[in-house]
């Protein structure tokens, strides 16, 4: 890397960190288990979804109560994503994310910023993902600036932005995928596989469907240990037996996982999502079985009443799921991040450079789309855009980086890229500084009958929030709200990001070398 490239790299990196810092959601304070249930922390605050509440509750319980079992206030805070097992209230989520933020939580608690610090961990992983996308594009032969643009498109031009400033698992899952890909692409020796196995298993503790997303990576990594090689006229099956030692990195994670399951559910092999959830907890602290049986959760949840792991995926849901993730107004890529469609072109460009990685990336993207299209709730409950597709967006961004490198001076490509990029960044900035709580269209009518007013869905709901001068950004609410209104805040952010992207693109177009 030249000095200029290093400076640009540093500037853009700091820019990304700054954007995430001012967009991060939160409130000042280190609430206890009673305070945390108040509306300024929940509906009007950072813990707007049960996804965030349930995972944070586990962190709180482990740090403050030294237990994986929830106290009654915490259990109520976490409903409906809490279960009752062996007389205790326990989390219904995979524990990885909750444990990951413990150091940040403890550090933040000292400064009355326990929630903000916890969320900052997710933003940090978003920044890591930015760096990894950039690195992958460069490694595949893409230009330096194209890598930066592609990474910007992912972190700010996709729903990855909204989920990088809140408390969801998607950036951590994406990190595991990108990091594994980078290790496999960059290093050819067997020993680095230890890291890959570690990431594979660790990603399962963050979100169980990562099993499917990491499976192609795991299988590909295995081919470093067992492979067929042609030597002169003969073919040999090669077995690098020392590679088996690399599996040892999985052991601590598996041990942790089994210990957690044992402590929570009494069975080391029980997956959290397969335990009966407690939708409603009565005043006496008992689970209301009738409500739990009906399972009518307006806000949606990642956990389901299906009691087998396979039962979460139903092929009958495929048509609706595919439509939801790609074309629907609810969550479709076409509305929330249409720039990602250019990733398909990018895969063609990447294929010319690296066939194996193209196949691997395509497989993971297809699996991501397929698995979550078969998910009973493809909408992801109330959410902004298709959050389940965040890993796919990251991978498509890598491909976009190759497309930008390949066609940076083609007018037709630029005619597609620029407006789509601007639009995607603007929409996702709106989502990031407001809320993730968008109901699916199918629930809007029911919601309207409850509230007796017109209820919006899609990002128009977020725009409505801006019209009311509301934002969930910690920085905005703490420092900027007296100087600018919410719309101005969004405009400044979106313009800055679009500006950096456009300048980078211009520099790339004007540069003589393709490596720039």
């Amino acid at each position: 890397m030249t000095l200029v490239q290093r400076v640009i790299s540093l500037f853009i990196g700091l820019f990304v960190i700054a954007i995430f810092a001012v967009s991060l959601r939160g409130n000042w304070g280190a609430p206890n288990s009673i305070e945390i249930g108040a509306s300024n922390w929940t509906k009007d605050g950072p813990f707007e979804s049960s996804n965030e509440r349930g995972r944070f509750a586990l962190t709180y319980s482990v740090v403050e109560d030294n237990s994986v079992a929830f106290s009654l206030p915490l259990a109520r805070f976490s409903t409906p994503d809490v279960a009752q097992a062996n007389g205790k209230f326990v989390s219904l989520f995979a524990p990885g994310l909750s444990y990951l933020i413990i150091p940040a939580y403890m550090l933040g608690r000292e400064h009355e910023l326990s929630q903000v610090a916890s969320y900052a961990v997710i933003a940090l992983f978003a920044v890591f993902n930015f760096l990894l996308i950039r690195a992958l594009v460069k490694h595949f032969g893409g230009s330096f600036l194209a890598g930066n643009i592609a990474a910007l498109l992912f972190v700010f031009g996709s729903p990855g932005f909204a989920y990088g400033v809140s408390f969801y698992q998607h950036h951590v899952s994406t990190f595991a995928i990108l990091a594994s890909l980078y290790i496999l692409a960059r290093f050819k020796n067997v020993w680095t596989l230890g890291l890959v196995w570690f990431l594979c298993v660790a990603s399962l503790t963050v979100d169980y469907p990562n099993f499917f997303l990491m499976l192609p990576i795991g299988l590909y990594a295995l081919t470093r240990i067992v492979f067929v090689k042609q030597e002169k006229d003969d073919r040999y099956i090669n077995f690098k037996y020392l590679g088996l030692l690399t599996f040892v990195t999985m052991v601590p994670v598996i041990y942790f996982f089994m210990q957690f399951n044992s402590a929570s559910y009494g069975n080391p092999f029980q997956l959290s999502g397969t335990v009966q959830s407690a939708v409603v907890i009565t005043e006496e602290g008992k689970v209301d079985v009738s409500e739990g049986a009906k399972r009518n959760n307006a806000q949606g949840s990642e956990t389901k009443n299906d009691k087998t792991a396979i039962g979460f995926f139903d092929t009958r849901d495929l048509p609706n799921g595919l439509y939801t993730h790609i074309l629907s107004y609810d969550r479709g890529m076409i509305l929330y991040t249409p720039v990602m469609f250019l990733g398909i072109l990018g895969l063609v460009a990447l294929y010319k450079k690296n066939k194996t990685m193209t196949v691997l990336i395509s497989t993971i993207v297809c699996l991501n789309l397929l698995v979550y299209s078969m998910w009973g709730d493809p909408y992801g409950g109330w959410s902004f855009g298709s959050r389940y597709m965040v890993p796919a967006y990251a991978l498509l961004s890598v491909a976009i980086g190759m497309a930008i490198t390949e066609w940076r001076r083609s007018w037709w490509f630029l005619l597609l890229l620029i407006p789509l990029a601007w639009y995607s960044i603007t929409i996702n900035t709106i989502g990031a500084v407001t809320s993730n709580e968008n109901p699916p269209k199918s629930e809007v009518l029911a919601l309207e009958s409850l509230t007796n007013q017109r209820e919006r869905y899609t990002f128009t709901r977020n725009m409505e929030m801006l019209n009311q001068n509301r934002s969930k950004s910690f920085a905005y609410n703490t420092w900027f709200s007296n100087n600018v209104n919410a719309w101005q805040f969004v405009t400044i952010l979106a313009t800055s990001i679009n500006g950096v992207l456009t300048i980078s693109l211009l520099a790339l177009i004007l540069a003589k070398s393709k490596k720039v």
Binding site: V228, K240, T315, S362, L367
Partner: protein, 555 residues
């Protein structure tokens, strides 16, 4: 070389201390032998496996009481049975509207009560068609120069489709139609390759058979005709085109000609099948009046409805993969242009079904999309063999993506089976294609089996009751029993000990005619059940009742 030395040379490991790698040499002779063995015997192995799968699937669906869930399946079996047994057996019982070949094929076996009531008489042809279609998918893929792997993938995609496995276990006509249509398509592709008249004759033969199974076959006949004539005209001029037209039509169109002739001879109207009171047209007219024929004259609805039918029957992801495969075929320069065009015959079922929906000749309900229930959703399965071919082609051509495609297919197949996702089974269990007539038929079985006397019933409306009652066909007086029907509907108290009908429904011919006879007061209403009411002749009129079939052979 001795056996032990052969073995030693096959597994020759070496340790390389520097890189800690064990190496096992792959014996090239073994490799070659394996490839050759599959090249020679792969088709036989595949066929054998299909037979095993077919029998296993039938056994499973039979033991879970699903093989007779479709109302239409029971009707098909009854039509076949009526040819050999009843008050007026004979070929005329083949009737109209439904084309006759499936029922004719049942005749050799349906005289046996077990074959009739288990549905095996109809299922056997479906099962044979299942195996034949798998064989044809293999052969079509080999015509398209697809490797062994691609052919295996294509056949497996077809053979692991739960809807196909279910339908092949029933007396429904889908598999028979699929087999004959694909046989016709295969011979057409072969003719396109070798230009031999024998292939053309075979294609005509199979298409002719398909025209005697379902009207989809008529469209295929027309489509093939256009293609063949167009191709001959383009290559060799108008005379050649004309020749092909007559050659093809003479055989392929013979079935259609026979059907018109049949309707003219039996019903006095060559278009009785199209416009008669029991025709699909009549049914669709009623639905149109009720406002539920929403695909009629609406191309978007028609496309969407059939898209969903295909997606639910064949798995959405596989349909999308097949679309990619079809596009690759269309642009693959390794295939002759004529072959690429000829391959379009594989999408004939798609065009036909969308057209039929658009014109209002077909009705299809997709639960949650255009109706509250399922109905005829099995029409979407017609594209399954073509989808299998396209996927096999995709696997072959997209070499680097084979692990991805095969991995995704395996995942989908696994999840389909673990979820037991089969929309045709849902239609048969809870959709509008099923009819739970167990209460009516159960009553008849308990109360009429050991008593003398006939049951007056409309076969057009209540064939399922006739079937499920387990009574012999000759106990029933229905529309096809000629003079018995005329007598029983004018003087029911003289012929019918029991009457089964939907009271106050003039669509039920029994009610319509018995009501006119004004003899219903001589009957007690036993009970009102879902789908029909049962009436029993009052005891004081029993001495005047005919309980023997004494009218002799009828014309």
């Amino acid at each position: 070389m001795t056996k032990s030395k052969t073995l030693k040379s096959a597994v020759k490991s070496s340790k390389s201390p520097r890189d800690f790698t064990l190496k096992f040499k792959i014996n090239p002779d073994w490799n070659k032998a394996l490839v050759l063995w599959f090249a020679r015997y792969g088709l036989y192995l595949m066929t054998m496996l299909l037979v095993i799968v077919s029998i296993g699937a039938f056994w499973y669906f039979h033991t879970t009481n699903l093989t007779l869930s479709y109302n239409d399946a029971r009707s098909h079996l009854n039509i076949g049975r009526r040819v050999v047994e009843g008050l007026k057996p004979g070929m005329a019982q083949l009737g109209s509207v439904w084309l006759p070949l499936p029922h004719l094929l049942m005749v050799p076996t349906i005289w046996n009560d077990y074959m009739w009531h288990t549905g095996l008489s109809g299922a056997i042809q479906s099962m044979a068609s299942f195996v034949a279609t798998g064989y044809l998918i293999w052969k079509i893929l080999s015509l398209l120069k697809v490797s062994q792997l691609g052919r295996w993938v294509g056949v497996i995609v077809f053979a692991t489709n739960l809807n196909i496995l279910f339908l092949q276990s029933t007396a429904m006509t889908e598999l028979l139609l699929i087999a004959t249509m694909n046989a016709g398509a295969y011979e057409l592709l072969k003719y396109n390759n070798n230009q031999q008249i024998l292939s053309l004759i075979k294609a005509s033969f199979w298409i002719m058979l398909s025209t005697l199974i379902r009207y989809d076959g008529w469209f295929l006949c027309f489509y093939a005709l256009i293609f063949l004539v167009g191709q001959a005209w383009y290559r060799k001029g108008w005379k050649a085109g004309e020749g092909i037209f007559f050659l093809f039509c003479t055989l392929a169109g013979f079935g259609i000609f026979l059907w018109f002739l049949w309707n003219l001879l039996i019903f006095g109207d060559p278009l009785y099948f199209a416009f008669g009171p029991y025709s699909a047209h009549a049914q669709q007219e009623q639905l149109d009046i009720a406002g539920v024929l929403i695909t009629k004259k609406d191309i978007v609805q028609s496309l969407m409805t059939y898209w969903y039918a295909m997606a639910y029957n064949s798995n959405t992801w596989m349909v999308l993969m097949a679309a990619v495969g079809a596009v690759i075929i269309a642009f693959d320069k390794t295939l002759k242009p004529s072959m690429r065009i000829a391959s379009s015959v594989l999408i004939a079922p798609l065009i036909f079904n969308i057209l039929a929906l658009y014109l209002g000749h077909s009705v299809l309900f997709i639960q949650g999309i255009n109706g509250n229930t399922w109905f005829n959703v099995r029409y979407g399965i017609m594209m399954m063999p073509s989808i299998a071919v396209f996927i096999g082609y995709l696997v072959d051509r997209a070499k680097n993506f084979r692990p991805t495609i095969i991995g995704l297919l395996l995942l989908l197949i696994f999840l389909t089976f673990s979820n037991f996702d089969a929309v045709t089974i849902d239609d048969g269990r809870v959709g509008s294609s099923q009819k739970n007539v167990s209460e009516v038929s159960g009553w008849l079985e308990r109360n009429a089996a050991n008593e003398e006397g006939f049951v007056l019933i409309s076969a057009a409306s209540h064939d399922a009751i006739i079937f499920s009652s387990n009574l012999p066909m000759k106990r029933f007086i229905h529309e096809g029993t000629g003079t018995y029907w005329e007598n029983a509907t004018s003087s029911p108290d003289r012929w019918a000990r029991w009457i089964v009908m939907r009271t106050n429904d003039n669509n039920d011919q029994t009610f319509k005619l018995v009501n006119q006879s004004q003899a219903l007061y001589k009957y007690d209403l036993v009970d009102s059940y879902p789908f029909a009411d049962i009436y029993q002749l009052k005891p004081e009129y029993l001495d005047q009742l005919n309980t023997e079939a004494n009218l002799g052979p009828q014309r």
